[in-house]
Symmetry: C2
Subunit: 347 residues, 2 copies
Amino acid sequence: MQDKLTGLAVLEMKKKRKVSMQDIADQLGVSKGTISLVLSGKAESGRISEEMCRKVRATAEEMNYQPNEIARSLSTGKTMTIGVIVSDISNEFFGSMTFHIQEQAKKYGYTVVTTNTNENLDEFNKMVTILLNKQVDGIIFVPVDNGQHIAARITKRHIPLVQIDRFYSDLEASYIVVDNYKISAKTTEHLILKGLKRIAVICYDFDVSALIERRQGCIDTLSKYNLLDPGLIKNIRYQYQEEDLKQAIHDLKNNSDKIDAIFFCSRKVFITGVKYMYKNAISIPEDMEVVCFDKIDSFAIANIPIIYIEQPIRKMGEKAVDILMEQMNGSNDRKQFVFDTELKYIN
Amino acid sequence: MQDKLTGLAVLEMKKKRKVSMQDIADQLGVSKGTISLVLSGKAESGRISEEMCRKVRATAEEMNYQPNEIARSLSTGKTMTIGVIVSDISNEFFGSMTFHIQEQAKKYGYTVVTTNTNENLDEFNKMVTILLNKQVDGIIFVPVDNGQHIAARITKRHIPLVQIDRFYSDLEASYIVVDNYKISAKTTEHLILKGLKRIAVICYDFDVSALIERRQGCIDTLSKYNLLDPGLIKNIRYQYQEEDLKQAIHDLKNNSDKIDAIFFCSRKVFITGVKYMYKNAISIPEDMEVVCFDKIDSFAIANIPIIYIEQPIRKMGEKAVDILMEQMNGSNDRKQFVFDTELKYIN
DNA sequence: ATGAAAGCGCTAACAT
DNA sequence: ATGTTAGCGCTTTCAT
């Protein structure tokens, strides 16, 4: 009784400190180890008496004990956290991908710290450093153009890694992507078979696998049908997409030979591109047809026919987490998943 | 010399362990404390000799030392991490808000762990527990309907907290919101003065401050002009928004008295609503005008006139972080910021 | 100018 | 069945 009062009184005094396992132990007159066993569920297998377990749990509750995961992490060497690096989480595509990664991670009891690169190499490097120093148990990232050496910092330290959306072909690591080349070729062919001949492609200018494949899928198909006009392949700068797109659309509108369709290589490019098409009084689909790589929720409000490519974002995010977990559980297999995409239409 | 070799050899052996300050200390034959002082920049003020500093830094570099932030956190009691809880990060609005929070936090040297509630109270509670146990230094959250007692768990532990987008009126905590009531009233009045009489309002059915104010702003204004028809105030369920919206639009279309405009209380509702308007062959703006609370990137592709309300998302996110920082630095002031919004048009 | 050592809260191996 | 203790890697105070 005396002890109890003293224990509580002491706690009362040093307001600041949160209640720790030691406090519970003192209160009960047992050792810290016992508390740890009970509270971390390792008391089963008869290690600790039913009686004790009950008392510990009750006291913990009563004292409003909350475990300190930082201390636990330092001790176990696991943080139960995975790091995610995307281009820009405000982009619906990456936001959605992140969402599914988070929800899946949650199922495994993991939380996620997300960071953005804005497609910038320095940022990418900084974020990797931060995540590594924070001792995340694994990393899922969207590769940034030219960042192989940065990615290598992760693999060299044997931290599980899964690339998503794109991959470094010269890095031995798992990845989850879609069949960018195949679907781009298929879509282009679809346009051609529909009778469209003058087809433009608008894409960011940086060279990550996904974009290279999309461009090439279009180009190869156009070549195959002898319809390739290099002047219609427009590469725009990520940092200046608004201006570059405006210019590109303007150029296409005024091309001496009328353009029949534009293949936009990603969602933001599509939205901005269509905006400028309207500003240039280009009617869709009467003047030109449009293709969007990615599905956008707000297609519906456009009320025009759109050909689009839908990626299984949810499955991709979930699979990325699944693979990462396997690696975190010791698997040394590097897995590569290439998901199928679907060619769809809105009329 | 002998020592050096031994040090490296030992490291070579136990491959698994990362290099720690102790390793550098051993290598240099000095104490751990010295290394810590140098590497954490507290060597200035002449505590440690120039000479030593140079050697330590060089060796750290050479041995490829990376600090363990977990250990540092346990020692300092600070994790340099802030927790962010939003409804759903795949929602462009929250994605964008999160992005700006992250970028601003980065400026202060903090990283962010984000989690989603999906507007669900249990999830909200779980996420708070997780963040608290992870010892985040502060939390920014979007309140969930009826979660006051959960929020109180944070304030009771004196963890800095900033609410964003909405707030609990009965909780003493900082918040960053917009003038929801004022702008909704103003917008409604704008419609009325334009000559529109039969105005419908479509909003989620849960009662968080932002939505209550938006609804009420519309309702009060309609009443004031004697134009309120309670049948035109539609509350839809978050979980079943697709069905409910479909039904709502159908009802409005078939209302005996033609409807002139629909005020959509948030972006997803707007997108889905407009989709069903088109499906019901309702022309915008000929048959009905539309208002969207929030700006959407893809408005441009709709190519129809839209009246919308733009929130200063970036400023809000940044301010939330600024205030949080003040509190984390010891300020006990609770600050409330109500940002102005803008009524805008696309024609 | 640098060393020594205690301590952050928890886990886990080893004692009893 | 429960206690003891040595870490985990870093910070920080007090010695020297």
